[in-house]
Symmetry: C2
Subunit: 206 residues, 2 copies
């Protein structure tokens, strides 16, 4: 298997953490896509992922899987423990729900702010920006942090008692927020404590 | 189980189709949330789904599942055939990838256009609009239709040989596009043929 990515970017980080949780990192060849120089918009890469986003998981039969949730589904069903996407119908549903909330309400909101209301990746790559929408998404990201903080007041992880795909998404979202200079609201002590705890996992610490 | 929804809206349609595909419709009590009069923003509904969106699946133990992908995961793992989210790791990954593309590139893009660049649900409910972003998302929806058309030139369904969650999302997205008066580009003959075929499924036809 190959993972096309740019190491350090928030979405590739999600896949690296999932692989490490499953003990599968050594089975993957990482291929750097030179995003800062626009390689993700080359015909060769667009053939792998028409949206031009990293990461992409390429299976040995040539099938290309984009979108982190989809890649995580593959990784989680390809091998043993821990289970990142749930076993029972209910566990799967709660994890996917919380994953989506962490994605839409934090990671993607931060990304939209970064790409639209800041210089983002620079004028060559940010060919369309809508600053008003970007600023609105910053507010959404802050609301997302407060929501996640409330969830973590009642349980250790976003989907309940166990670390899951939802935690990976939110953790990557906070990393992106740091990069985009969106601070976690001071009162979000549960979110900060959770983040410190997740940062100590071997899959994250490396 | 209860499903809180507004019949005829695009996201509730996704859950209704999934339930019908699995033969589970009769096991669900549908509860109308009066979205046109703002009931989805009442404290009682926000306690079920903090984002205020319909549909929400409430399990018999009181657990509330929001987000259509999560609800579909529940439905698909609660009972037998057909399988809507895939069996093997690869099938699951491809279906989730195509579902996400249909969602972000079509259904959600149409929704953002509708809520931001048209009167949407009216001035009482559309309390923040960003018309520029809405218009941009209309272009994204049209590009999404062209992309899906290309996929369907090579295979009968969005994730391959079998109908899946990805088809449900795209079908609901086209229904929303009709409502928002975004026409399928004339040249998208594969997409139109696929739509006619899906519309004939008993789960859709009713």
């Amino acid at each position: 298997m190959k993972v096309y990515e740019f190491n350090g970017f928030p979405n590739p980080a999600r896949v690296r953490i999932a692989l490490a949780e499953k003990g599968m990192t050594g089975r993957v060849q990482f291929v750097t896509v030179d995003v800062p120089n626009g390689e993700h918009r080359s015909p060769a890469f667009l053939a792998k992922n028409p949206s031009g986003a990293v990461p992409v998981l390429e299976l040995d039969d040539g099938t290309c899987i984009a979108e982190c949730t989809a890649i995580t589904e593959y990784i989680d069903h390809a091998d043993g423990n821990p289970i990142l996407t749930g076993k029972t119908a209910k566990d799967r549903a709660v994890i996917h729900m919380m994953q989506r909330r962490a994605e839409a309400g934090l990671l993607d909101a931060v990304g939209t702010y970064f790409h639209h209301a800041t210089p983002g990746l620079g004028p060559k790559l940010e060919t369309y920006q809508c600053a008003e929408w970007g600023d609105h998404q910053k507010q959404r990201a802050l609301a997302g942090m407060r929501y996640l903080d409330g969830v973590l007041a009642k349980q250790p992880y976003l989907a309940g008692q166990n670390f899951s795909m939802a935690d990976i998404t939110a953790f990557a979202g906070l990393g992106f927020a740091d990069f985009a200079k969106i601070d976690i609201p001071a009162e979000c002590s549960n979110l900060k404590a959770w983040r410190a705890r997740v940062a100590e996992r071997p899959s994250v610490k490396g």
